[in-house]
């Protein structure tokens, strides 16, 4: 008789709700409860926790986006609404992550447009949203409040809080009942510290998603992989300040040399392969949300996650 592999876990990962349906006070076609894992990813006896979610990232100013994606997606990149709709209906994403890259413009102050863009995306897709806000601390407060207000009732996931820069985003999340992404630079202790800071200003743990920061494959991904494993390990061992779901956003995947300098014939394949391998490994390490930018990655990941959940025999 082979004994069950014993890992000595004591506690589950905490849960966070993303999105709100009409019944829940929002307008989304579905909401997700993420987290809740009781052991290492994909090895539960009765798979209770859902498959990792795939977020497709779009932006509101493509001059700050990868030319690979701009070429592949064509005119869509100048129409966040249509792009979000395509992400839902054609690419097959579970979530849309809107990156407000327009805030990168020098002296950006057009907060009204931000509100309009969020509104457009909310009305164009029925998927729950992640909104990646300002790139400039000076306008954080206005941008996040505008996003929070526009998405009131929708249980958005707002990004990204960092140590030393979390008050504005936390204020917006608290005021309008959204959740937030808490990012730390590939360090489990800093991740824990930030969660404690957030707790102290009143953000509930079921409103926090940890982003341990994902280095691109070949450029530090191994550190991120281990940080994710360690966070999951700590959560399962009962550390409540790390028992939150995780998000993996390998934003640099498309700017590294292998992808950036691939010739025209292989660069889409290279981009997809890079995002795919990174996201799959991150999900196995414990990420409940993986973010991608190339449309070709979404369906492949979805099929792979389904296959990981599928078990024949004992």
């Amino acid at each position: 008789m082979i004994p069950d592999a014993n890992f000595g876990w004591t506690s589950p990962v905490g849960e966070v709700v993303l999105g709100a349906t009409e019944k829940e006070g929002g307008t989304r076609s579905r909401s997700y409860q993420i987290g809740g894992g009781t052991t290492l990813p994909f090895i539960e006896k009765e798979p209770k926790s859902p498959s990792p979610l795939i977020a497709f990232e779009i932006c509101d100013d493509p001059q700050y986006w990868s030319p690979i994606i701009n070429d592949f997606c064509g005119d869509l990149v100048r129409d966040p609404g249509a792009w979000a709709k395509t992400a839902e209906n054609t690419y097959g994403a579970d979530l849309v992550r809107l990156c407000l890259t327009s805030t990168k413009q020098r002296d950006f102050s057009n907060i009204t447009t931000i509100g309009k863009t969020v509104e457009t995306v909310l009305s164009s897709t029925t998927l729950p949203l992640i909104i990646e806000g300002s790139n400039e601390p000076k306008i954080d407060s206005e941008v996040f409040l505008k996003c929070g207000e526009t998405g009131q009732g929708e249980r958005l996931l707002l990004g990204t809080a960092e140590a030393g820069r979390y008050r504005s985003i936390a204020a917006a999340a608290l005021a309008y009942n959204h959740s937030i992404i808490a990012q730390s630079p590939i360090d489990i202790n800093l991740a824990k510290q930030l969660n404690i800071l957030l707790k102290e200003i009143g953000v509930q743990k079921d409103h926090i998603v940890i982003d341990p920061f994902t280095g691109a494959l070949g450029y530090g991904f191994e550190y991120s992989y281990s940080a994710m494993e360690r966070i999951r390990f700590s959560a399962l061992k009962g550390d409540a300040d790390l028992a939150m779901p995780m998000i993996c956003a390998p934003a640099d995947s498309l700017t590294i040399k292998e992808v950036r300098e691939a010739d025209a014939k292989t660069r889409d394949a290279m981009a997809v392969e890079w995002e795919f391998a990174t996201s799959l490994a991150a999900a196995v390490a414990g990420s409940e949300i993986v973010c991608v930018r190339h449309p070709g990655t979404v369906k492949r990941l979805k099929a792979a996650f389904a296959a990981l959940k599928n078990r024949t025999g004992a």
Binding site: A5, I43, G218, F221, E229, T255, R300, A307, N310
Partner: protein, 444 residues
């Protein structure tokens, strides 16, 4: 139960013959007790002592060597479930599948690709590891032809896959002296496979879909005299693989089921998304991964992921400090200073190359720490920079006296100017912006 070194010592011949590679029987006993050596290294143990020591003293996962010569590689001998607990030691071999229904040219081309193709990343050459020759035709004749085509192309580690003992016997007459790996022994055919494996000192893949059956089969093969085993838990889905492979690793390293203490074999070619199986195999404990000849994109991603996961997390990869050239820099080329953490070096180097501006990179010794951490820890300081400029003769290489430093080391700029007498320019924080920075800002 693990034995203490002194208990083990009592069972050893006490000849201090050094044939195991250790100076005395006692030091060998200590290694055995720590799981760092294999009983088989001692040529004088009687079978009784061997069976007592057996699985309790060898490393929790046996080290198995595939192939002979330059391209041979070791797998197994792993100790942890998480790389951060220590490290993963033996990267999985990625081996390309060849079918004996392919033409001789195709077979030779795939073999030559495994022999020659190299991906150089962060100063390391990454290669595929061998070929897997499948008896798809079912005939002896086609199989021997395929094996002969591989043999005349390269001396690579080989796995011979066939249900037909006659085909394997014929193949072994060609390549038996290179100790190939046979695939696969099952509860039905293991006696015959073990006899073949024993005759040619082959490694043997054993296959069964349940861990019970796999452990029993391992035990049976060992009692037939074949000990260099690989476990194929016969997964039908990715879920099967991650569950069985994780259980095997955990039960082996805790020595809960010593009969599962062998490296894991994964044939990725049968899965709907082969790349998914490869990536999963790399992160979740596969030691041999059989793939089809991979596309450029799949190959790069697989080799890079393998390199990342099998990097020792205890030591950052370091560059030798020095003055490095990008392109052919002249007397008026910019000098960029940064740390000797190899990831920093290669990332920056990549972006400088794309900027097409020839540069000098002055790499200073921060013991492998990144810019941020070395500034915080005080490792990166003005004395270090001053000494590096002297030591590597930067003053003879350029006619100007301007040094570009990383954005994150901006707080040091004043002190570096004072210590070196060079004008310090603070570069961008993000290496990706170095091209724009140089184009806009650099004047000698």
């Amino acid at each position: 139960m693990a034995l203490k070194a002194l208990d083990i010592y009592k069972l050893l011949p006490k000849k201090n013959c050094k044939e195991c590679g250790d100076p005395t029987c006692l030091t060998f006993a200590m290694k055995l007790a720590a799981g760092k050596a294999d009983v088989d290294l001692c040529p004088y143990l009687d079978t009784n002592a061997k069976s007592v020591l057996g699985a309790t003293t060898r490393p929790p996962i046996k080290l198995v060597k595939l192939g002979v010569g330059e391209r041979s590689f070791g797998i197994g001998e792993e100790f942890v479930l998480y790389r951060h607990d220590k490290t993963f030691y033996h990267p999985p071999g990625i081996m390309f599948k060849i079918k004996d229904t392919q033409s001789e040219e195709e077979i030779m081309a795939v073999t030559a690709r495994v022999r020659d193709e190299t991906l150089t990343r962060v100063g390391t050459d990454l290669k595929f590891n061998g070929v897997v020759i499948v008896n798809t035709s079912g005939t002896v004749e086609a199989y021997t032809k395929a094996v002969a085509a591989v043999e005349k192309t390269a001396g690579l580690p080989e796995i011979l896959v066939s249900d037909n003992p006659a085909a394997l016997t014929a193949a072994l007459s060609l390549c038996g002296s290179y100790h190939p790996t046979l695939c696969a022994a099952t509860p039905e055919n293991f006696r015959q496979m073990c006899a073949l494996a024993k005759q040619h000192s082959c490694r043997l893949v054993i296959r069964a879909p349940s861990l019970e059956a796999l452990a029993q089969l391992a035990k049976d093969c060992v009692s037939e005299g074949v000990t260099n085993l690989l476990l194929d838990p016969a997964p039908q889905t990715l879920g099967d693989f991650i569950n069985r492979s994780t259980a095997i690793r955990q039960l082996a390293i805790t020595r809960a089921v010593p009969d599962l203490g062998y490296p894991v074999y994964l044939d990725a070619t049968g899965f709907p998304d082969e790349d998914a199986a490869i990536a999963l195999g790399i992160v979740k404990y596969a030691s041999v991964i059989v793939t089809s000849p991979l596309s450029l994109a799949s190959a790069k991603a697989a080799l890079t992921l393998r390199q990342n996961i099998y990097t020792d997390p205890q030591k950052p990869i370091q560059m030798n400090p020095g003055l490095y050239k990008v392109g052919t820099p002249g007397k008026d080329a910019p000098v960029l200073m940064t740390v000797n953490f190899s990831l920093t070096y290669f990332t920056l180097q990549g972006y400088i190359e794309s900027s097409r501006i020839p540069c000098f990179m002055l790499i200073v010794d921060t013991e492998g720490l990144s810019v941020l951490t070395s500034v915080a820890a005080g490792k990166l300081n003005e004395t270090l920079v001053r000494d590096a400029i002297k030591k590597f003769g930067v003053e003879n290489e350029v006619s100007h006296r301007k040094l570009i430093i990383p954005g994150y080391s901006a707080p040091l700029s004043g002190r570096i100017e004072e210590a070196t007498g060079w004008k310090v320019l603070v570069g961008p924080r993000d290496a990706a912006e170095i091209g724009d920075y140089l184009h806009e800002q650099w004047k000698p």
